[in-house]
Amino acid sequence: MTALAQARPAGPARSGGLRRRLLRATPYLLLLPGLLWLLVFFVWPSIQMFLVSVSAGSLEDGFRLTFTTKSYATALSRFPHQFGNSLLYSGLATVATFLIGFPVAYTVAFRGGRYKNLLLFLVIAPFFTSFLIRTISWKVLLGDEGPLLAFLKHVLHILPEGFSILGTPVAVVAGITYNFLPFMILPLYVALEKIDPRLIEAAKDLYASHWEAFRRVTFPLALPGVFAGSLLTFIPAMGDYVNATLLGTPQTQMIGNVIQNRFLITNDYPVAAALSFILMAGIFIAVSVYARVLGTEDLTG
C-alpha cells in the first residue's frame, strides 16, 4: 500500500502532512497491538521466569534477585531420571511417528487419488476431539480389563492374566506417538505432495530402480517435511506430562511432570523455573544437533 500511496499524485484532499505521516506509520500501527500482547505476555514472562530461576526465596516471602545458580544445580542433580525419560520417550515417539507417518503421507500424496481429501480428513480427525479425552480413551483401550487386553487374555488366551500395558513406558510412548502422529503426517504430506513427479520419472529414465529413485530423489526432497514433522512431534513431546500421568506410573514420569508439580503443588518456583529453562536448552541443543545431522541448514527456510 505504501508503494501505491507514493505512486499516486498528491491530490488536493491528500495534501495534509498528518495524513501522509499516518500512512507511513500504518505498518507499525497495524503491528502494535499484537506485538504489545506478545511482548507483555510472552517475552516479559520469559524474562520474569529467568529472574525467578536465579532468585532466592519462596512464594511466601517473595523472591530476592541474588543471581544464584543454586536452583540450576538442584534441578540438574535431582532429576536426571526424569530428564532421561523425557529424552528417551520423546525420541522414541518421534522415530515411531516417522516410521508410521512416512508410508501414510507417501500413500496419501502419491496414491491417494480421489480418496486424498478423505484420508487427510481422517488424519486430522483426532484434532476434533479433546487431547485429554483421546488420552483417556487410550487408558480405556489399554486397561488391564479393557477391550484390547481382555480380548487377548480371555478370548485368545495368548496373554497371561496378570499382563498389563498401562503403567509401562510402552503405554507412555504409544500415547505420545498417537497424540503427535498427525503433526508428523501433515508436514510430510505437504513436502511429498510438492515433489514434481517428472523428477522421479527422470531418475527412472536414467536407469534408477524404483528403490533408488526413492532413496536418491523422493526422500531427499521430502527432508524439509521430515525436519518440520520431527520438530512438531519432538518439542511438544518433551514438555508433555499428560501421557505420562494418565498412562504411566511415578517411575515413568517425565520432566513435564516435575515442572508441573513444582509450580502447581509444591510452589517451588525457582527450581521449577530453572527446570523449564534447562528443558528449553535441551530442546534447543537436540534440535541443533538434529539439523546438523540432517545436513541442511536451510531446511527451516
Partner: protein
C-alpha cells in the same frame, strides 16, 4: 520413455525386485495406511462407544451395559455446566481478539517492507515452537510475581492476580495470535495486488479499497484462522492448567474429576464436540462444492 527403458535396457534380475516393489506399492502401502488411520481413529471410536456405556462403578473404563443415560443427561455433574460455559466464553472472546490482532499483524508483515521484519517473524514463530508447559509456567510466574514485591502494585489487582478468567483469556489470546498470523499470512501472500490498484484507479480511497476489495478476498483466511483459534482454545489444557487458578474450563474440569471418577458425561461432551466439528466440515465442504 520409461516404457522403452523398462522393456529394452533393464539389466536381468530386475523383474523380481520390480515385482516386489510393485507388490509393496499396490498392497502393502494401502494396507499399512488403513491400519495407521485406524490407529488414529480407535480412541475416537472408544469415546463414542463408551458414551453409551452404563459404567458399573464411578469409572467409565470397562464396558458394562448399553445406556443412553449420558446422552439424556449430558450436563448432570456438579461443575460441568459452569466449566463448559467458561470454555465457550474464553474460546469466543480469545478467538475474536486474537483473530483481530493477528490479522492486523499479518497484513502489516506481508504488505510492507520495514526494518525488523525478520526479528518480528521470529518472535511470532517462537510461541509455536515453545513447549506449552514452558509458556504456561512463565505466564504463571509473571502473574504471581505481579502480586509480590518488587512488582506489587504496578499492575492493578484483578487483572494478573488472583488467577481466573482474565488470566485464562490473556493466555489464550497470546498462544492464538501466532497461529492466526501464520494462517492469514498464507492467504494474503497469494493475493493479487492489481485488484487493489484497480479499485484505487476507479477512485476508491484506501479505506474503501480495504473493506470492499481486500477484506472480502482475505476473509476465507481470517475465517480459517478464527476456526483454528477457537478449536485450539476449547481444547487447551496445559497452558490453562497453569493460569486458571480455581476457575474451571472443560479440560481442567475433566483433569480434576478423573482423580475420583470418570463420568460418562465426559465422553458425551467430547462426542458432541467431535460430531459438531465433523458436521461443520462436511457441510462447508458441501457448500464449497456447490458454490463452484
Amino acid at each position: 520413455m520409461t516404457a522403452i527403458a523398462a522393456t529394452t535396457a533393464r539389466p536381468a534380475g530386475a523383474p523380481i525386485a520390480r515385482r516386489l516393489t510393485r507388490l509393496l506399492e499396490r498392497f502393502a502401502l494401502p494396507v499399512f495406511t488403513t491400519l495407521a488411520v485406524s490407529y488414529l481413529l480407535i480412541p475416537i471410536a472408544i469415546m463414542l462407544v463408551f458414551s453409551f456405556n452404563e459404567p458399573a462403578g464411578k469409572y467409565n473404563f470397562i464396558w458394562n451395559q448399553p445406556s443412553t443415560y449420558g446422552w439424556l443427561h449430558p450436563l448432570q455433574w456438579p461443575g460441568l455446566p459452569d466449566a463448559i460455559g467458561t470454555t465457550l466464553v474464553v474460546a469466543a472472546a480469545s478467538t475474536l481478539v486474537a483473530t483481530t490482532l493477528g490479522t492486523l499483524m499479518a497484513l502489516s508483515l506481508t504488505r510492507y517492507r520495514f526494518r525488523g521484519r525478520g526479528v518480528l517473524n521470529g518472535l511470532i514463530f517462537l510461541p509455536m515452537a515453545t513447549p506449552e508447559i514452558v509458556m504456561g509456567a512463565s505466564l504463571l510466574t509473571l502473574f504471581v510475581s505481579s502480586a509480590l514485591p518488587p512488582l506489587a502494585g504496578v499492575v492493578p489487582q484483578g487483572i494478573f492476580f488472583p488467577l481466573g478468567l482474565p488470566t485464562i483469556l490473556i493466555a489464550h489470546i497470546m498462544f492464538n495470535i501466532s497461529y492466526v498470523v501464520v494462517t492469514v499470512k498464507a492467504r494474503v501472500a497469494g493475493f493479487d495486488r492489481h485488484l487493489e490498484e484497480a479499485a484505487q484507479d476507479l477512485g476508491a480511497n484506501e479505506w474503501a479499497t480495504f473493506w470492499r476489495v481486500t477484506f472480502p478476498l482475505i476473509f476465507p483466511g481470517i475465517l480459517a484462522a478464527g476456526l483454528l483459534a477457537f478449536s485450539l482454545s476449547i481444547d487447551d489444557f496445559v497452558i490453562t492448567s497453569f493460569v486458571s487458578g480455581t476457575t474451571n474450563t472443560f479440560p481442567i474440569w475433566t483433569w480434576s474429576i478423573i482423580k475420583n471418577a470418570l463420568p460418562v458425561q465426559i465422553n458425551v461432551v467430547g462426542s458432541i464436540v467431535f460430531l459438531s466439528a465433523v458436521g461443520f466440515v462436511v457441510v462447508s465442504t458441501f457448500l464449497q462444492r456447490r458454490g463452484r
